[in-house]
């Protein structure tokens, strides 16, 4: 189980260390923390335990809203006594919620570990509840359970559940898939308009009523590398994937833009003209951080599946040396082009046995370790600089204008360590 295996990645073979043991990663429920801000008229109702509710508020940290657009229907021992009752109870909770919150247009029932284990069929429940509440509110279901999903997989499952509900249209369009901050989304929409791609839509849209259509004329670009299942659902609706680098840094964003342009038969010179200025800004901004990052070693512990493209950005554009690039799941079809550009000295690892992985971190002593919140302070206390992985899913990091900020996120812990005289 823990032995390296040969695996095809893109064009070349390289070993991937597959480990199985304790994982120090969030479950898929955590995606709700950003998804509920992204889709403004959606509500996420976790059907789970007190643990699920506690996880959400702990991960949400200080972002306490008076009445957030997510909540947990906490299963209690009476619900466990009989499943029929659990369904009735769920219907009651949903009815109460919707009667108080008429602003909810889209309700996600989010499955959890306990709801999966007791086999509470939320897809069926969603169907039943649609009968009662559609068209005022559409009810969908997906699983964010820790026994099936890791952290960002939750967004994948959520978006994938939306795909079958999208209207059909065969008109030619570019679909951007993955939730990124609005400001970043707007930058991409502007650039695509300037290079002459007329129909550009985004999944998820900012409101449930603005969801895009999909069909044979749709070609899609992934903004996030963790959208395996969503990609499959889109293919099933006739959409075609545009393989591309992920838009991190100047190189990644250029690759991303060029791939879209090529797919839409737009001349490369047009792309060059449009991105000339932002690309120059990105290169200059990254160069300012490069001095601090160049030659420094870095290890990624598995977290968001963003690890391969980020490691590529840091090694290619910032001169860092990745020692280990760990990811919860490596989808060759999606991140293959990223892996191909990683230095051959970097260890790729998938899954996790946190104790063994920490042994390697202690042996290698990287200049920077990217890890979850549970591990950061303990590693700092051992004299190892860390970067909180969760900041990478909460911050605007995609595209040209954010390239410098992205590099700075990694430079900051190093700069701080140098600055403090304690």
């Amino acid at each position: 189980m823990n032995a390296p295996t040969r695996h095809r990645t893109g064009g070349c073979d390289r070993p991937i260390l597959r480990e199985r043991g304790q994982r120090e990663v969030f479950c898929g429920l955590t995606g709700i923390i950003w998804l509920h801000r992204k889709i403004q008229d959606a509500f996420f109702l976790v059907v789970g335990s007190r643990t699920c509710a506690h996880l959400l508020q702990s991960a949400a940290g200080v972002m306490v809203f008076a009445e957030p657009r997510f909540g947990t229907a906490i299963i209690d021992d009476r619900d466990l006594a009989g499943l029929a009752d659990a369904n009735d109870e769920l219907d009651r909770v949903v009815a109460e919620l919707l009667s108080r919150r008429s602003d909810i247009k889209l309700l996600f029932l989010v499955g959890s570990c306990p709801s999966e284990v007791i086999k509470l069929d939320l897809a069926k429940a969603a169907e039943r509840l649609n009968g009662a509440h559609y068209p005022q509110t559409r009810v969908l279901a997906y699983s964010g359970s820790g026994i099936e999903t890791t952290f960002t997989d939750g967004e994948d499952a959520c978006l994938s559940s939306l795909v079958p509900t999208l209207p059909s249209a065969d008109t030619r369009q570019l679909l951007l898939v993955g939730s990124v901050p609005d400001v970043v989304e707007d930058q991409f929409l502007r650039m695509f308009a300037e290079i002459g791609i007329e129909n550009v839509a985004v999944l998820p849209a900012r409101t449930a009523s603005a969801l895009p259509s999909v069909g044979a004329g749709t070609q899609y670009l992934l903004l996030q590398p963790f959208l395996t299942q969503t990609a499959q659902s889109l293919e099933a609706r006739g959409a075609r994937h545009i393989p591309a680098l992920f838009p991190f840094g100047a190189v990644g964003t250029r690759g991303f833009m060029e791939a879209a342009a090529a797919a839409f038969g737009i001349d490369k010179s047009r792309v060059d003209a449009v991105i000339e200025a932002p690309e120059r800004r990105a290169r200059a901004a990254v160069a300012r951080q490069r001095e601090r990052l160049s030659g420094r070693t870095i290890t990624f512990l598995p977290d968001s599946q963003l690890e391969p493209p980020l490691a590529r950005f840091l090694s290619e554009e910032c001169g860092m040396e990745p020692i280990e690039v760990g990811s919860p799941y490596i989808n060759q079809k999606i991140v293959g082009p990223e892996l191909d550009r990683l230095p051959s000295t970097a260890i790729l690892s998938e899954g996790q046995d946190v104790e063994r992985q920490l042994d390697r971190v202690r042996a290698n002593r990287p200049d920077l370790t990217v890890c979850g919140l549970g591990l950061a302070n303990p590693l700092e206390a051992e004299g190892l600089s860390t970067k909180w992985a969760i900041e990478l899913v909460f911050s605007p990091i995609h595209g040209f204008e954010q390239a410098g900020d992205l590099a700075e996120l990694f430079a900051r812990p190093l700069r701080r360590a140098e600055r403090l005289q304690l």
């Binding site: 969030f26 335990s49 466990l80 549970g374």
Partner: protein
């Protein structure tokens, strides 16, 4: 099934983690799926601990459910023993593992590990975090104490029970308690669970009595020790000057020593701070209190007896202490609020219209939204409530800290007068708020405004608009925003009871006189 937006307590296994993480040399093997590891960040981020909690999570996945999750547990337990060599282990299940019924206790026993293994049964679908902590401490006391040590007992000795990891001010409270005991000449036999080792638990019976710092976590263990080893326990929680004095008397009585040295503490400044003329304005400040049972009860008494506040609301999320809270609420002539539903608390705060909210981090957000001053007095708390400085709640120093904590968020006496006298000064407009309350000031559009638009939540409502003469409405706006809602409500009630319509400036002042404190 019940809808929760925010929860006051985590699941019971998090309570067990608070015990394990506070201790040294104990390891917890938790049968749990991926994702439950989030609990580590409570300790490493919120409390800023520099070590991972001593917990191994088995991390089972969907595909394991059809196979052998029990084997997974056994491997995890074995590997955890080999890697960490703990003095003792606790084993149990989180909510999901409870459903698959693998019996971690039985499995661990079958492994015959060379250290004591204590199984925990923590029903996740009925119980909560504080129960988990309390049950774990009780199980450790039962499982590890050695009756033989009772023979070496000396009268002036005690155990201190209750402080855990992630406890609200536990580190600082413990220092205060130890100081009191030292001054009284009482020897501390063992502090548990904070900093204790499993092997230390053997000598629990060697103490003459137990000091119960936090009944939420320590009462079950202390009751068992009382029955089993005839160790009496303290029943006073020393929060506030009065309670600290009572606690000192109680401990001195149990230990057979003179209480005077500890009672006569030159650091006890709170009584003078509260009696000094500057504090006159604190009289009858309306305060709403919500928290765990221990803190809600103690703080309510401090507010009433030691600060001269008027307690207008009292509640707790600890159902175990509902009876005590109800009794005190009755004494205070307020409606007790026993709930773990954040929205209930928010509604109660709105209805009480307090000038100060004392609660948990959840009430901090309620108060912020309503533009009311607030201080945190109970778990659950956030990172800023684990201060770097010594900041206890217990003992005389704790009372000093409480005076500062509870008084600072309020608008100060002279400032309050100025605000009232010069209502129309643009710097005193509602939007500006009190000068030192930037963080609490309600956000209500740009300043200055020569003719400020009425703030909708505090001006007479649309329907009620006709109740008020324009001149009376204008007069109402001269009342500071933090008491205006109450003034409006009182005046409207006063008018309705007497059939007065419309409300004139005269009615406003009649009502003011009627409701005057």
């Amino acid at each position: 099934m019940k809808l929760h937006l925010w929860t006051y307590e985590g699941p019971p296994h998090v309570g067990a983690m608070r015990v394990a993480t506070g201790m040294q040399g104990l390891h917890y093997v938790l049968h749990a799926p991926q994702g439950d590891t989030y609990a580590d960040l409570l300790f490493t981020m919120i409390e800023r601990r520099n070590h991972r909690p001593p917990v191994t999570y088995t991390t089972f996945q969907a595909r394991d459910l059809g196979a052998d999750t029990a084997e997974l547990f056994k491997n995890a337990a074995k590997e955890a023993y080999e890697r960490f060599s703990p003095e003792a282990m606790i084993v149990g299940a989180s909510c999901t593992a409870e459903l698959i019924q693998d019996d971690p206790g039985g499995l661990a026993k079958a492994l015959a590990l060379p250290c004591p293994v204590i199984p925990l049964e923590l029903p996740s679908y009925q119980k909560k975090e504080n129960f988990g902590a309390s049950e774990t401490l009780y199980r450790l006391a039962r499982g590890l104490s050695d009756p033989e040590t009772a023979k070496d007992r000396t009268p002036a000795s005690c155990n201190i029970l209750g402080p855990t990891a992630l406890g609200f001010r536990h580190r600082d409270d413990l220092r205060e308690i130890k100081n009191i005991l030292k001054t009284l000449g009482v020897r501390v036999n063992l502090v548990a669970p904070l900093s204790a080792r499993p092997s230390d638990f053997a000598r629990l019976p060697a103490a003459a009595f137990n000091v119960v710092m936090y009944p939420e976590t320590a009462e079950s263990a202390a009751r068992w020790l009382e029955r089993e080893f005839k160790q009496p326990r303290t029943k006073t929680v020393p929060i506030g000057v009065k309670a600290t004095r009572a606690f000192i008397e109680e401990v001195a009585g149990l230990a057979g020593v003179d209480p005077a040295p500890a009672l006569d503490d030159p650091e006890n400044r709170m009584p003078w701070w509260s009696s000094s003329v500057d504090s006159n304005y604190l009289t009858d400040k309306r305060v709403f209190i919500f928290g765990d049972g221990t803190h809600a009860l103690a703080i309510a008494k401090v507010c009433r007896d030691e600060l001269g506040f008027k307690v207008v609301g009292l509640g707790t999320y600890s159902r175990e202490y509902a009876r005590d809270v109800r009794a005190l609420a009755k004494e205070l002539d307020v409606e007790p609020l026993i709930t773990d539903d954040y929205l209930d608390v928010e509604r109660a705060v709105e209805a009480c219209e307090p000038e100060l909210v004392l609660g948990t981090q959840m009430e901090r957000h309620i108060a912020k939204r309503l533009g009311i001053a607030c201080a945190v007095i109970s778990s659950p708390v956030h990172v800023q409530d684990f201060p770097a400085r010594h900041s206890p709640q217990m003992g005389f120093e704790g009372a000093n800290v409480l005076f500062d904590t509870l008084v600072h968020p309020l608008t100060m006496g002279l400032e309050e007068h100025l605000l009232t006298m010069f209502r129309e000064d643009f710097e005193f407009s509602d939007e500006a708020g009190a000068s030192h309350l930037a963080a609490h000031a309600p956000q209500r559009g740009p300043v200055p405004q020569p003719e400020p638009a009425p703030a909708s939540s505090e001006s007479p409502s649309e329907a009620a608009g006709s109740l008020w003469e324009p001149a009376a409405q204008k007069e109402l706006k001269k009342i500071p925003f933090f008491v205006r809602g109450r003034a409006r409500q009182n005046t409207e009630t006063f008018a309705a009871e007497r059939g007065i319509h419309p409300i004139t400036v005269e009615t406003l002042y009649d009502a003011k006189a009627h409701f005057a404190r």
